[in-house]
């Protein structure tokens, strides 16, 4: 694990902000799973329960115009980037008020106003496109950065290698954030990846790579601080391997046969969310009342978004002819 001791300590406000993003992810995830179970939503769902710290800490460093490219398992990345929940819910329900008018769905949300530029359903494909967004920022002469989120499995696909190399050669302001939850779909890390740490692969492309405890907000804070500063200062890309665990398996309904009950129970016992909450209070960064109020507000937001999304209309079939090209296809 990386020791990035020269990074400044996060302020109490930042810590609370990271927690706010985490609890927003968790409450929203909980509501989505409940709604699917009740049969009110029909969708493929990939819960990221357990991985909240990673995008929440990353997003604490991002401005609204900094962009992210994420993957079909990445609803937590979008919620962390403060995507509004009403259009999110309408989209996952396939409704016209969705971020994408219901034409992308839960694996493909896009919301440029909050910098969520691409959500790909193809493993590894967030990275080549993130490079282009980062290049545009360079050409604009701006300090914008782009984050490419992906999983440990994606580090074995060609797009990862091509993208890291190009980003290095062109010194692009991009941060490659690998959320290593130990499983590529159902395949255990060591059965599919020929190196003990994905961060070591950075050396092959001439960029810094760090392995970080992705469930520890302080460790994440130090690593993201370093990577974002590098990108904004024109020094190029960084690879962050953030170790974590997914509590709900690969896809909703997964029976987790490929992992042991013990390892899952052990990971859940170390759930970063209550642990972080307890430490925020214990160290005096926040009060019990403050966090309870925050949670209640977020629950109200989620409930409102759920009602809004499920009440929204389905799109007209004319939408099949729209947005194929800029110009509508004649009927």
């Amino acid at each position: 694990m990386a020791e990035l001791s020269n990074a400044p300590a996060p302020s109490p406000e930042t810590l609370v902000d990271i927690y706010r993003r985490m609890i927003r992810i968790e409450r929203n995830d909980d509501a989505i799973r409940k709604t699917i179970r009740l049969g009110r939503l029909t969708m493929p769902y990939y819960s990221a329960r357990g991985q909240e710290v990673i995008p929440s800490t990353v997003s604490a460093f991002l401005n609204n115009d900094d962009t992210i490219c994420t993957i079909y398992r990445g609803i937590h990345d979008m919620v962390a980037k403060d995507m509004p929940l009403r259009p999110l819910w309408a989209e996952i329900a396939g409704r016209v008020d969705g971020t994408c008018k219901g034409k992308g769905g839960p694996m493909h949300l896009t919301h440029p106003e909050t910098g969520v530029m691409v959500t790909t359903g193809i493993v590894g494909s967030s990275m080549p496109i993130a490079n282009g967004l980062a290049w545009a920022a360079l050409l604009d002469g701006s300090k914008r950065v782009t984050v490419a989120y992906f999983g440990d499995g994606a580090s074995n696909i060609g797009a990862f290698h091509e993208s890291l190399n190009l980003a290095s050669v062109w010194k692009l302001p991009v941060i490659f954030v690998c959320q290593n939850n130990g499983f590529a779909e159902h395949t255990r890390y060591e059965n599919g990846t020929g190196v003990d740490f994905i961060s070591k692969r950075a050396a092959g492309y001439g960029m810094p790579g760090y392995t970080v405890d992705g469930n520890d907000p302080w460790a994440m804070y130090a690593a993201v601080h370093e990577a974002v500063a590098r990108a904004r200062d024109g020094e190029g890309p960084t690879l962050l391997e953030c170790k974590t665990f997914r509590f709900m398996g690969h896809v909703f309904g997964d029976d987790d046969k490929y992992m042991t009950k013990e390892e899952k129970a052990e990971a859940i016992a170390k759930d970063p969310l209550p642990a972080f909450r307890a430490r925020l209070i214990a160290e005096g960064h926040a009060t019990e009342e403050q966090l309870a109020k925050m949670q209640a507000d977020i629950e109200a937001e989620v409930e409102d978004a759920q009602e809004f999304g499920l009440a929204s209309e389905f799109p007209s079939v004319d939408e099949l002819r729209r947005d194929v090209f800029a110009e509508e296809i004649p009927a």
Binding site: K103, T110, I122, N131, G132, L133, A136, S163, F325
Partner: protein
Amino acid sequence: MSGKKMNALQAVNAALAKAMEQDPKVIVFGEDVADREGGGVTGATAGLSTRFGDDRVKSTPISEQAIIGAAIGAALGGYKPVAEIMLMNFTTVAMDMIFNHAAKLRFMSGGQSQVPITIRTLTGAGWQTAGQHADHLEGWFAHTAGIKVVAPSNPAEYYGLLLSCIQDPDPCIFIESAGTLFIPGEVPDDQAPIPLGKARVVQEGTDVTIVSWSSQLVRCQQALPALAEAGISVELVDLRTVSPWDKEAVLASAAKTGRVLIAHEAVRSFGPGAEIAATVNEELYGKLKAPVRRLGAPYSPVPFSKPLEDAYIVSPERVAEAVKGLMA
């Protein structure tokens, strides 16, 4: 009206320069395209990096996925990227980026994302480059909703269609085909962008309509004198844009002549000719004087050996023969 005589590659170069001059958001990149690397393997981008700077004209590693991914991302960031994929067979390495992303992001984002990229790519049989450097894959791309497929056949078209591709708000594949590259032609100084999706009637006629594009169009033109000599009045339609194709122009010509031949360099089986033939049959059933015919490459990879390669390409003689067959 004055103009310049040039070949297709010079026309590409001139169009890129014009587009970059007019719009600072136009950027050009691909393997070896900058002057440090020789200005492109065909010289199509020669001089551009010197003139417009290394930021806007960049050579890339040999990484086709990364090239198209960078094009898509830069487009989402407000630029108009012109990415070169050296040879059309190499687009296969980037198919995820082209097919799953460039073509679909507008639709899948509900119209929020625009991907105005142009992918220039070289191909075509005739140079003995064999099965992995010469395929005409327009049918692949035409089968993907969300991509425009453009296939010019002469320098003025290269110039005018490339300008349109670059300005177009959607992704375009621009095919530069071996059989068209070195035939000089006049490009008017004020050559305007040529609208996408619009065919051109190369020669008017009343007996038979030939629909073709790219290198095969050139070989169809070469068949015209023999057909004129045989007393057959041929209407030759240069489709120019394979997708979306100009149905109106093709159907108007087919309705006039009642006989249609579609000729392309792409493999005949499941090729674009089948789509056009089926549409002509659906729209003009009962009005045709002969069944629609198709010519294309055999169901075979492009071969190396010269006699095999010659047989692979649909010659002007075979075009003439097919037209005569339609008249029989």
